[in-house]
Symmetry: C2
Subunit: 424 residues, 2 copies
């Protein structure tokens, strides 16, 4: 699609109500808005281009505290997989909430959800439920250590597995050398480095934990090389290493059977969270029978881990995602969108690079080592109603339509036109 | 209240549907029902006396999968503080859910909830929200370490602070010596031991973390000795140690201003979870201004940590608890209940010992070192519709009425009568 040189017709948004509320937030919350939804995490620049608070959301869009409306490609940083306030999920939630949620015994709906995951996910013989993605990565590590009686864990450089101290770096505040004493690191797609590490630490490595592909921040996202995962699987078998896939971000977006299945291998343990229940709070560790009794032997529990309502949401979400073949839809519409964005850039003399899976596309302007031009373009998009992140992957959701894509490309085009007129 | 020798008129419950569902659960979930709601954790004996799944809940009661109804003194192990499906909380939830829940930006209701906690909790100058109680104890430890640049943590023996490896014991599966290398332990109410420990490790201790009183399992619960907390506070100040109160279990049950306020001292950091939102999934770390910027410096976030619906539930819960002065009600009705239970025991020739705060009363039969008689009595209560735990503290909730108490004492009396007739 080629769009004629669009007149710049949209007025950039103002965030007065957001900023006033942010001042209130700073008084009572560390950082005002902490963590990945906050302005201090770094993927969210220039900060002045972004609102701070949402007020309502529906389908593909949210409205901020000043009433500005956005087509949202961050999707709550992942949980919004069917569209905000999906009517089917919310109906299942209402039905369950009318019965019970957190009680002194679990609801049998927990069993139904586990059965559904075992039927859906190729590497799942069982499911264990918690609240955070990080609850499941920590459980996976503890399981691997208990099963192998070994200590060391192999990480793939550029990883993100939550915020427990063992997942952080030694120079991060509050992290001790003991927390990361058993962490080893290899580059992604580097089998020679992995072979060397495994050989040098033979008999000492409990697990390798990795995302299914590298969807890190501030870097082009990188898919596995042909044969990479099959070789990793074989090496893990050879050295008795538990292979843990952290599918918290990509899970159910590439393949309903798991991202390991998508890339043609089988994990021993697989971590799910974000896309599991369309925003209702639940995470799951799934895995193979050989590790089930080890999980049973661990002390691992939490106050809300058997909330019935999120299980109902999870059943409705996974069922609907499978029915509509959401992964195929994400790939199709994600490709249409990124193709349109690249064309909008080219129409204005820019070179936009997309990377990663189209369902979780990452954007970068080429020939922009300082990142300033890219951030400027993102800022013009956000302030016209397309909620992109500057240096984080994006997320498609199942409510997206061609009309959303067309409007997004139109706004992106206009944002590029602003840049062209500004920089000549 | 003295009850005449009651005829044993209730037929013990059957759990056929529960047990059939438990078999299904065992096929797809490690341990079937894992963790503290499951039968393998130990506070839940004899296992045959307990159902496995709940089906619906309302007010003070839940109904299991076989249709048996229970007056519930476990309250979801804490979250049920106002009564199941409290109409005021659920109305606030419905209003928020119609707007948004998990979005790419937080709702401003997060700020309102933080403001309410700062207004309510004496030691709270700010609030940071997460999902698990354990998220907040880990954040508290990391904050103390970052603020003091020290490693060691003092624990009070018999503690429970969640399931992160650093909170566990070295002989627990999946836990490494590195995880607990900086943990020191002192007995509760033992100032001499604490003084010695602080002196021997002067300049090396980042924090002391403790529950406001010892509400452990399998032991009589123990309140602080007069002056204990004031002395601990002074020692922490003297040695530059951050004083962390884990109020996950007792919070808002003893005092709306925090259990540190109840016992007449001020924590530096205080952890809340269970009673915060009547079962909706949210936890909070609160603390003093001096530590706010340290919290801001940490990397700490999660996918669902800014869900708007649990914040709405939290505001409704804390507001209502304060309006009805729930802590006073818990103390009053808890005392009436335990007095009635002790009398029911005495009427049948048994000596029942109650300990801990009446809001979270703990039960034990005296002269029963094997615990078998106590477990037998609990079993007869559970199977007649009073949901007690064998060796865990109980929880009052604000929906409880004198009629519930009377019915509970009646059933307890009948259960003692069964024991008396069985053992002569």
């Amino acid at each position: 699609m080629t769009i004629e040189n669009t007149a710049v017709r949209r007025t950039p948004f103002r965030y007065d109500a957001s900023m006033a509320m942010f001042d209130r937030a700073l008084a009572v919350i560390p950082s005002g808005v902490p963590g990945h939804l906050g302005p201090t995490e770094g993927c969210f620049v220039p900060q002045s281009a972004y609102p701070r608070f949402s007020d309502r959301a529906e389908g593909t869009r949210f409205w901020d505290l000043d009433g500005n409306c956005y087509i949202d490609y961050m999707c709550g940083y992942g949980p919004n997989v069917l569209g905000y306030r999906d009517p089917d999920v919310d109906a299942a939630v209402a039905a369950q909430a009318a019965k019970e949620d957190v009680v002194s015994l679990p609801s049998s709906i927990m069993v139904e959800f586990a059965e559904l995951l075992v039927d859906t996910v190729a590497s799942a013989d069982w499911a264990f439920f918690a609240k955070n993605g990080g609850d499941t990565t920590t459980l996976a590590i503890m399981t691997a250590r208990a099963a192998t009686m070994r200590k060391k864990i192999v990480f793939v450089k550029g990883f993100y597995h939550g915020v427990s101290p063992w997942t952080q770096k030694l120079d991060y505040p509050g992290v001790l050398e003991e927390d990361v004493a058993n962490n080893l690191y290899v580059p992604f797609n580097d089998l020679a480095a992995l072979r060397k590490l495994l050989s040098e630490n033979s008999g000492e490595i409990a697990a390798l934990i990795a995302q299914p592909y590298m969807h890190g921040n501030f870097v082009d996202n990188e898919l596995p090389a042909d044969g990479y995962w099959q070789a990793v699987r074989a090496l893990c078998d050879q050295y008795g290493v538990v292979l843990i896939v952290d599918d918290v971000r990509a899970g159910f977006r590439l393949d309903m059977a798991g991202s390991d299945h998508y890339f043609g291998f089988q994990a021993d343990l697989i971590c799910f969270c974000k896309a599991l229940a369309n925003g209702y709070n639940v995470s799951a560790l799934c895995g193979r029978d050989s590790l089930k009794s080890t999980v049973s032997s661990l002390t691992y529990t939490g106050s809300y881990w058997m909330s019935a309502v999120p299980f109902a949401a999870g059943i409705a979400t996974i069922t609907k995602l499978a029915e509509i073949d959401a992964p195929a839809r994400f790939a199709q519409l994600g490709t249409e969108l990124t193709t349109g964005l690249v064309q909008a850039a080219a129409d204005n003399g820019f070179h936009l690079v997309t990377s990663g899976a189209p369902a979780l596309f990452y954007l970068r302007l080429a020939d922009d080592d300082s990142l300033m031009l890219h951030q400027e373009w993102i800022a013009e998009c956000v302030q016209r109603g397309v909620y992109f992140s500057s240096h984080h992957n994006h997320f498609m959701n199942a409510a997206m339509t061609r009309a959303d894509i067309t409007e997004t490309v139109e706004i992106a085009h206009e944002a590029f036109a602003v840049l062209r007129s500004r920089h000549g």
